[in-house]
Amino acid sequence: MKLKGFMFDMILSELEDAVGIDNVSTRQIDKLTHGVDYFWLARMWADRGQALPEADVIVSPATTEEVSSVLKIANYYKIPVTTWGGGAGSQGGALPMTGGIILDTKRMNKISECNTDSMYMRAQTGIIWQYLEWHANERGYSTMHYPGSVNCSTLGGFLAHRGIGVLSTKYGKIDDMCLSLEVVLPNGDIINTLPVPKHAAGPDLNQIFIGSEGTIGVITEADIRIYAMPEKRTFHAFLFKDLTSAIAAGREILTKIKPSVMRLYDEAETVSIIKKVIGMTRPGVFMNFALEGLEEVVAIEERLLLDICGRYGANDLGGDYGEKWWKQRIDFFYPGHIMDIPQMFGTMDTIATYSNIEKVYWAMKEAIETNFPMARFIAHFSHWYEWGVMVYDRFIVDDPPKDPKEALRLHNQIWNAGVRAAIANGGVINDHHGVGLKLSRLMKEQYGPAMQVFEGLKKTLDPLGIMNPYKLGL
């Protein structure tokens, strides 16, 4: 933001009038804590003592109307607005790259309705997901959205980047779980999508705003599905000979039954898992399943699962690993359990049809390992559909360059190589972490001329380009 001094203070007083004096901050501590998210480059930048992206002012509205007022002010003065939920995104999507306003949504944390007839909860989007889940649990239900960042990310954050949880194979992604949205457009207008997600009333407004990463508006409320608690949840693990047979088994399984969890690990990841499960190393690929629902339905599904995996030559490793994994499913997100600085790392989650997924996996692996011998490559396949599967492939560089600019360059080169390999083989730029700043430059390569649809939306809804600049390729 270029405004300084007298004019800046005039704008501050308008923002204070809109949301209350206690909810507008120019304190350094607030700027700092909104200058680093979960993006590796932001973390490295902070670790190496570099100047961080810095907002001019942090605004914390509590209502949709207050969001509207803030956007009207920002629109009038042409001030950039970056929406911040939990800040736990890995793509740099919430970083205020051009300063301006950080619109922190966490005061918008109210649940206004729990509708057990139609099985949804309506909530403001600044609510931490764990609270939504606890409130559902208190009434005997669950959201069934269990991502690793459930403790710290907001409903709005998951919607903004199309998040996913570990039970997605049965219950879907966040975009499947959302019935309806309230959105504040960049000009301050408050709009609602249709009350139901399935209709023949033109294109799906929900799906225009879900995944838009704060570039064309701010999602302020949402109706989110809830589910009955399953009578039974049971686990089964198998060791398959190779990825090809395991993926073929997974594809057939989904033509007959619907597991909630399907997690297939490549050989590199299997090495460490299998040792924990059977106490020794064995070649092959490890796959863990969960089945859940009514007990008698689960019993039938279990029989079919065992039959199919048996026909593909898999060894049944029982349910102990799965039980333990379930209890510790988010532990990996805590420090000491996951890669961290000084390592360089990235998760290049992509998705493709069954026809392409192995090509994508091998192409990405080759692109990373051949071009960047200092990088390790591991992967698992953890969100499955009737038509394809996502691959959660990660690169790790244990000893990245000390110079921050060199480290940034290497990081982006690895990402470019991996994502381009995916796109060239039928994969997509990302499955469930979003685009953000990290992948923004690759959006045009992904979409080609189709990108003009998004650009048109952006020009119409945000003609001044104030909403989350430099993100999503917009």
Binding site: I29, Y38, S60, G86
Partner: protein, 366 residues
């Protein structure tokens, strides 16, 4: 090496991790990004990398209520309260302690309690004077009960007498040292005051020490051993002691008409992992309706100590708990901590009743 640098390992672990955000009672009510362990660690990580500790950072360090929820939540075992306390100490050494906190420290120095309390309420003096000077059981009231909530202390003493307990209360009770430990961290003066308190308690020759406030119980059971300070008597929480009296038939509640909800004091439910005794007591006195986030998931009400230097923040936290209490449909909120009681009393909504656990039992036993 600075005090903050000594905790660099924890700071580096927490600076990019938000996993305890959902349990932070301060962040929950303010919605501010700076109110969580990650934000404090991030700021202090810059200090360990050569930037100055600023008043802005220190202010945020004092917005931590030190309830320990983040510590309990961390599956890796990192303890963010350690760097918070280290930063408070560093701030004191650099003259950056906020003025509102300096005033409390001065009061602690002058009066041995943070409430500038000098004279006990006459009813409490009378109640203590009626007890033997020496007894096998020492009932430790704590500064909060003595100076902020003397009626609760009087009721608790009456209850113990009604149960026929042979106990005493020190007229000149020393401070547990907890306040200094929380406000200043681990300094020599903290240990010194704890040693003096332990010596005075040990001199009473009591076999059992019943701590009225859970925070005092936590100090005696957790902090004293950490400072390698020996307390001779066995330490019991008031709630576990009271429950024993009821279970043994020494107290017989007969009025069970109350519809109650219970605020678990965070030190009791999390640090001391004690949830059941209070619930058994309340089951004997009425019908218990649990609040959203109870037991080990309880949210701190704001704490009596923070209320002294950040009353607006404390009021937000206690109001949030009152909202949860009202949502249960109960008309009475019971707490098992005199300090929590004081905080709750300041934001008590109309049509809701606030009661210490000693009072609800006293009423039920009438």
């Amino acid at each position: 090496m600075s005090m903050v640098a000594k905790e660099e390992k924890i700071i580096n672990a927490c600076r990019f991790c938000w996993m305890c955000r959902h349990v932070c009672p301060v962040g929950k009510v303010t919605g501010l990004e700076r109110n969580n362990a990650r934000a404090r660690a991030l700021a202090l990580s810059l200090v360990t990398r050569g930037q100055s500790l600023t008043a802005d950072i220190v202010d945020n360090i004092y917005e931590c209520v030190l309830c320990g929820a983040c510590t309990k939540d961390c599956v890796t075992g990192f303890d963010p309260t350690r760097f918070v306390k280290a930063a408070r100490l560093e701030a004191a050494l650099e003259g950056l302690t906020p003025e509102s906190v300096v005033r409390i420290l001065d009061d602690l120095e002058q009066y041995s309690n943070p409430y500038a309390g000098t004279v006990l309420a006459p009813a409490l003096q009378e109640a203590i004077a009626s007890l033997p000077q020496q007894a096998p059981i020492l009932f430790y009231l704590g500064s909060s009960a003595r100076y902020q909530n003397p009626q609760a202390a009087v009721t608790a003493i009456r209850l113990m007498k009604k149960a026929g307990v042979n106990f005493t209360v020190m007229m000149d009770e020393p401070d547990s040292g907890l306040y200094k430990a929380n406000l200043l961290g681990s300094v020599a003066e903290t240990r010194e005051s704890m040693v003096q308190t332990a010596e005075m308690i040990n001199k009473t020759k009591a076999e059992i020490l019943v701590a009225f406030g859970p925070s005092c119980a936590k100090a005696f059971l957790r902090d004293y051993p950490e400072y390698n300070i020996l307390l001779s008597p066995q330490v019991r929480t008031f709630t576990s002691w009271l429950n024993t009296l009821i279970q043994d038939g020494a107290l017989v509640p007969t009025n069970r008409q109350n519809v109650i909800t219970f605020h678990d004091p965070c030190t009791l439910a999390r640090d001391l992992e004690e949830e059941d005794p209070a619930r058994e007591i309340l089951a004997a006195c009425g019908t218990l309706k649990e609040m959203f986030l109870h037991g080990k998931h309880t949210m701190c009400c704001g704490s009596g100590l923070m209320d002294l230097y950040a009353p607006a923040l404390t009021a937000k936290m206690s109001s949030s708990r009152w909202n949860s209490a009202q949502e249960t449909g109960a008309q009475t909120l019971v707490t098992a901590c005199p300090s929590c009681y004081t905080v709750f009393a300041k934001t008590q909504p109309d049509r809701m009743r606030l009661c210490g656990i000693e009072s609800i039992v006293w009423e039920a036993c009438k």
